[in-house]
């Protein structure tokens, strides 16, 4: 009799312990973003799959307006101590936030980290890459029959395509377009291809003005007479430029802008210099230290989920961005997407040679200094030497500011 009781009791106890181990308090994670309607619905699809796997977690997406609005909102949230669980943001916003973000390295296995494309990995993993794009070459087929494969060819095509069509003394079409202050990444892609860097390995010295850097800058300067220099989007006046170094994420805007005009927009890999390289842009995701631990844990689970090959592949295939892991590039859904989109093939092929912005905490200000330098060169307001000297001074000041 007693034995029977004991057995029943111990079985009950075992169940109770097991139940307590698996049951989780329900937790809601708040995810700030700025995606449009369509991409948001794709995000929600991802969340639905995630929630099916982790039924105690709910993902709540909050749209925060434009990128600058999101940035101010994030900064304000940190000041007020009312942070969400996680948010997307650009790497150059990190400076004021670095202390407020959870370093994620301890949460990830070595294999998981090795799967992330090296060009997208951020120092200490206080962020993980999410919606990424890469600089590719856009060209108008009516002007450029075969896209250039070397920078010499690119330059020649620029010269050829800078013309005053109606003979009124004004240039109506330019070979290419430069957005110096808005998009210094155009120059950074050239720099990277020429084996140049902004800083040395251990961030103690500015290397922008060494031989490789100066070569890249001089090439950039030589493009200026054949370039539409603007702060507007290069697709805002379609037909104005024959070729453009621009982000792969803008593809749908280029296509929309060309619709109904006599122009056909196509993309190709960037021409190749010393080596193939391009610049990766786009936002990352970070988790806030200020969030409750349960939310942080749930947020980490969501990040790991998003990094899975089929998930990042799905996100890339539907959103127009790029996969962020090797397994994502190999995933069935991305492979399938490549079949129907030559543009995706172009950006996918460029992806392994892509580099991201420096993970220096003051990179935001450094980028601004680079933008000013590029603008002065492109508009002829300073010589290459003068402009680079000022930029080097400013960046040196920022090294340990």
């Amino acid at each position: 009799m007693k034995l029977r009781y004991l057995v029943v009791l111990s079985i009950l106890a075992a169940f109770a312990v097991g139940f307590m181990a698996t049951a989780q308090e329900p937790v809601t994670i708040e995810f700030w973003h700025r995606f449009g309607e369509y991409n948001t619905s794709m995000l929600e699809q991802l969340a639905t799959w995630f929630e099916a796997e982790y039924p105690w977690i709910t993902v709540n997406f909050v749209y925060q307006g434009s990128y600058s609005a999101l940035q101010q909102k994030v900064n304000g949230a940190v000041v007020a101590g009312e942070v969400p669980t996680m948010t997307i943001f650009y790497e150059d916003w990190i400076a004021p936030l670095a202390d407020a973000l959870v370093p994620l390295t301890p949460y990830f296995t070595d294999e998981e980290i090795a799967d992330i494309l090296p060009g997208m990995l951020y120092k200490d993993m206080i962020t993980i890459p999410f919606n990424k794009s890469i600089m590719v070459l856009y060209y108008i087929e009516e002007y450029v029959e075969t896209p250039p494969t070397t920078w010499e060819e690119f330059y020649a095509l620029c010269v050829e395509n800078t013309v005053d069509v109606d003979g009124d003394g004004n240039i109506d079409r330019y070979g290419t377009g430069l957005r110096p202050s808005a998009n210094p990444e155009q120059f950074l892609a050239l720099l990277e291809q020429n084996n140049g860097t902004i800083l040395n390995e251990d961030w103690t010295e500015v290397t922008l003005d060494n031989e490789a850097g100066m070569e890249a800058l001089n090439f950039y300067a030589s493009l200026a007479p054949y370039a539409w220099v603007t702060s507007s989007y290069l697709n805002s006046e379609i037909g104005r430029v024959a070729m453009a170094i621009d982000t792969s994420a803008g593809y749908s805007h280029w296509i929309d802008a060309a619709e109904g005009t006599e122009y056909t927009v196509k993309t190709a890999a960037l021409p190749v210099g010393e080596k193939m390289a391009s610049f990766i842009q786009g936002t990352n995701i970070g988790i806030f230290k200020g969030a409750p631990q349960a939310e942080i844990d749930a947020g980490v689970l969501f990040l790991k989920f998003l990094l899975r090959g089929e998930m990042t592949g799905f996100w890339a295939a539907t959103s127009g961005y790029l996969p962020v892991t090797y397994s994502g590039m190999d995933s069935a859904v991305w492979t399938y997407a490549l079949l129907s989109s030559p543009h995706s093939v172009v950006s996918s092929e460029m992806l392994p040679s892509g580099v991201s912005s420096l993970a220096h905490p003051n990179y935001g200000d450094m980028r601004a200094a680079l933008g000013t330098m590029c603008e002065e060169i492109a508009l002829g307001a300073a010589t290459v030497e003068e402009a680079v000297e000022t930029a080097v001074d400013e960046i040196e000041y920022l090294l340990d500011y």
Binding site: G65, A69, V79, D256
Partner: protein
């Protein structure tokens, strides 16, 4: 002198002079109205017409659907609600605080009056952006970022309004106040029963400037709010322009919509409106 005034020569000169004045006046009007005309005509063009060179003065057929497209491309309904809500609440609130403060300065003797008034006038010299940084932190600490509180509460006072109304209140003779006192009329009742009705035009001016100011306010709203739900028309319009790219015809349609409420207000109160504005310049 007299001879030239009656001479034929004088008449001719006088007529040329008047013609010149009319030409000048209408040329001025044309320059002033041109941007409005351009806004309206562009809003009714097709996209290719809007980008055509040489520009086309009129659309070949008016594209009314541009308005519908613009209206649905961004939550303009919400922007308008926010703008109206912000403008009306701040106007009402400001009128009340201003009446009270202006009355104290105009009709009461109290300790520290002149110093306080001088300090208040001094704040007119502070550039608003100087205060934006700490105010941002304050608003963040209050948890008011991106909320109606942030849009309304800091704007419930205007030093300019207090100054304007004080000038007017001072013009109300003290005898009226004394008479009311004898009647045992309390101060507050005197203020709202006698002073306020007497000062209607000045109060209208104060209210008008607040309404215009709130409706146009840009930087504050840009910084203190982020979500589309909290945006007002000017900020919504600016963001919209960044998001739609080259659809100038829609942008112009949205701009026309944004100026309509103020135009309606203007045409209904034209006389008081202009007098109210003119009043701000009179010592």
């Amino acid at each position: 002198m007299e001879a030239t005034h009656t001479g034929r020569h004088y008449v001719v000169r006088q007529r040329t002079y008047r013609v010149a004045l009319y030409v000048l006046m209408f040329a001025g009007c044309a320059i002033m109205l041109l941007p409005f005309f351009w806004m309206l005509t562009t809003s009714l063009k097709t996209q290719t017409e809007a980008l055509r060179m040489p520009p086309q003065w009129f659309p070949s057929s008016p594209q009314w659907q541009n308005y519908a497209k613009a209206w649905s491309a961004a939550p303009f309904g919400r922007y308008f609600f926010n703008s109206f809500f912000m403008a009306i609440t701040t106007t009402i609130g400001e009128v009340i605080t201003t009446i009270l403060a202006a009355y104290a300065f105009a009709k009461m003797k109290f300790f520290g009056k002149n110093v306080l008034f001088a300090i208040l006038l001094g704040t007119l010299m502070i550039p608003g952006q100087m205060l934006l940084l700490p105010n941002y932190v304050t608003i963040a600490r209050f948890g008011w970022l991106d909320s109606y509180e942030a849009l309304i509460i800091p704007w419930l006072v205007s030093v300019f309004g207090i100054f304007l109304l004080r000038q007017f209140f001072r013009g109300v003779p003290d005898e009226l106040l004394d008479a009311a006192r004898i009647d045992g009329c309390s101060r507050l009742r005197f203020l709202f029963r006698i002073m306020v009705p007497l000062s209607k035009p000045a109060i209208f001016t104060v209210a008008l400037f607040k309404f215009l100011g709130s409706w146009n306010s840009f930087t504050w709203v840009l910084i203190m709010t982020n979500s589309p739900n909290m945006r007002t028309v000017p900020v919504g319009l600016q963001v919209f322009s960044g998001e739609i790219g080259t659809a100038y015809e829609q942008l112009m349609a949205a701009s026309v919509l944004a100026i309509i409420p103020i135009l309606v207000l203007f045409f209904f109160t034209q006389k008081q409106f202009i007098q109210g504005v003119a009043r701000t310049g009179i010592k």
